[in-house]
Symmetry: D3
Subunit: 172 residues, 6 copies
């Protein structure tokens, strides 16, 4: 097996920070597995998009760059850290390398003897899921924070109006 | 099918605000389905009563009014917004209309093409589950906030003492 | 509390045997709780109807008889016999009496000190869910085995065609 | 949206029958979504391979043909037919067309108004998961029944010895 | 760490075959971890006893022999072979050796690099859970097949009458 | 049955406060069942250790004191208060007495007619799981707050470095 690496995120939504990381990883290793975490969660203020919608954002964005050495795998939460690595292993093509900034994910894969690496940097003050969602609600320039392909997906699924409605304060 | 409508709540407990809403809906449509949400949760500070106890509060209160065009259905949480409407659909008699104040529930049913309506108003500063529970703990006049039938159910199941014990601060 | 009794079944579908039992129990006790077991299962050869569809069959049939001293409660499987009684208790209005022909349900409620009774008899060679389902597939006289109200529900939801499709042998 | 179609299977393992179907569908529609059913099951006599291993078999086989207009999505079982379509919808890019030979899957998607079609035919007496697994246990020519890419994946993960061990009769 | 070994069974009930195996293993290694599999299942024809009852049978039997170098751990099913080893690892004290006759358990632990061994032999034609349960139903000499300590537990919990009732054929 | 009592905790980690309580209870009743709550949770800031690691801390500590009249039972969360007592009952040897400081656990067991007692006191300002975890992160004298046996387990599993890594702030 040549080098295949895993990168996991929630991608709510997939933004240019994620995009720059995956582009770089995909150029450094033979294949990159993109794990879409909390795939079962959607329609929540911090998690507006379904696993399938996020799958589409990522694949459309990578195709638009001419990148094809990737696998996208939705990963449903299992809520038990001690079995989470096995859970992921059972759903993805085998990898030996894991890129992550999460100290928990780093620890879990290190306890299973993986080669864990820091992903390439990007400007976190500018690109974050929180910021994109905030801009969607306030009609700010969220489209500048995501790839054109992602913007198209969000528009096609009427994502901004969903985001706004979910963010409303509800009378119980 | 004549008009059958759904109204969902947690009813912790069923109070006079809920009661006025259901009475009105039941007079406007042919049949009302009352979904008892988070039916599996009980003995928590914000959710003291079991699904069965809440079922009883609602049915006794409606019978006492001579109302009979209702269905009561306990609905266990599924914790996945994207499948929640299907989950509800599989447990209730079919409906075309949904009454809700929750912007999330409104959004979820709208994405499935339901006719979603605002329920009749009631005085939310006076009637709320939070307020009834607070009054139960402090021996305030909680009985003025619920129907006689609901008060009887709470007394019969020794609900006030349960509420007080659950609300105590515990040493871990 | 006057006498309230539980009767649990899968009701796939609700047939005249079930109907005669519930009519008799409802005349012998003050209130009868009808538990709709395996409420989450549907679209299977032995379990074609949803919990909500079965709820409707039962309530329409009882209303047509002028019976009103009943509660209908969908009960989702928990697949652990040792906690099943607690699970049921948490979803239904409290009961002291349980009617059942199942030796397992009898055992489980007896271990929790319930008054368990045999339900009234009916002609099991004639009325059974298996038989009704078989007749639906073969266009036999299934309507003679169920109440008019149940037949109407099945027709309204296009149940016969669903039953036939599910019963087909599939190429894997 | 142009035409995007769903095809679901368990792919235990992915064989030349599946392969011919997906090749044909991928040439008839704009994009094909391949749902890997029962993704969480593995190491069983009828389900030896993990979701990730099956993902790899399919993607390697399609890449080897120069096909790229596909999405592969592992789908974990939810064991409730009435919510299964919503579950699938939440995990995949949106589709309007579903190809299936299963009468249950056909029924479930038809109740949700999908355009359900029969997939292209292949020789089922020759190609079936059951047959491939049988040949693996008996050292028959299983490699003739799968694509070269799939055979390579099975060899790389030592799949034949796993298959043989799982198929052994165990002393309890 | 000195040698600590795992032995997993369902123990429905714990019989003299199991007992001889654990006695031998406990004399060969420093400590033995006894995993009580399917701990959540009970009141079924093939699984009559709860996890707690089985825990008691094992500990009372080992104490009666003066054995104390053991750990007993109830293990609830997770129904996913690919994560089962991680699930077990998270619940038990760490082990390096596993004794099992099951080819599946052997395979699962071998894939995780454990030292898997065959447990000592016993007369399987004489001692088996199936046989003990059969004898309990038919009032045969089941007490000769289990330790005195196990027999006492079964009598104390009224296990024979439970076994007989569960084994009855039920009218649906 | 002589007196057997239950004591439930999370034991994250097992400290000298827990230890003094169990020593006292074990001298007052015939046998003590130690329930290890939230057994499935680990690698979290407030819950760093697995169920198996906590099992080992407790058993090693009690063995070091020459105590042997105990059972240790990992208890996985079920997240439904109304069935939690049944869940525990099915996993442990039968008890009649429960020691707890939690007002919720007290309430739940009282509703099932148990004899609920306050456990012996210890200095909660000094000994608490929170405090031990805090000291582990800051390299304070956590070893003075736990038994030698527990300290050995934590060192053997490299628990301090796990605790520190989990406690780090992560970039999302």
């Amino acid at each position: 097996m040549d080098t295949r690496a895993l990168y996991v995120g929630r991608f709510q939504p997939y933004h240019l920070g994620h995009h720059s990381v995956i582009k770089k990883i995909s150029s450094e290793v033979d294949e990159v597995v993109v794990g879409v975490g909390s795939a079962q969660i959607s329609h929540e203020v911090d998690d507006p998009f379904t696993g399938g919608e996020r799958y589409l954002m990522i694949s459309e964005s990578l195709k638009a760059e001419g990148i094809s050495n990737y696998y996208i795998v939705p990963i449903i939460d299992i809520n038990r850290n001690a079995v989470w690595v096995s859970h992921v292993e059972s759903l993805i093509p085998p990898v030996k390398v894991v890129y992550t900034n999460s100290s928990l994910i780093e620890r879990l894969f290190m306890e299973k003897e993986y080669d864990v690496r820091k992903p390439p940097l990007y400007d976190r003050s500018k690109f974050s899921g929180t910021e994109v969602r905030r801009c969607m609600v306030s009609d700010g320039g969220w489209q500048d924070l995501v790839s054109d392909a992602t913007a198209n997906v969000i528009i096609e699924i009427d994502g901004v109006s969903r985001m706004k409605e979910i963010a409303q304060c509800s009378l119980e």
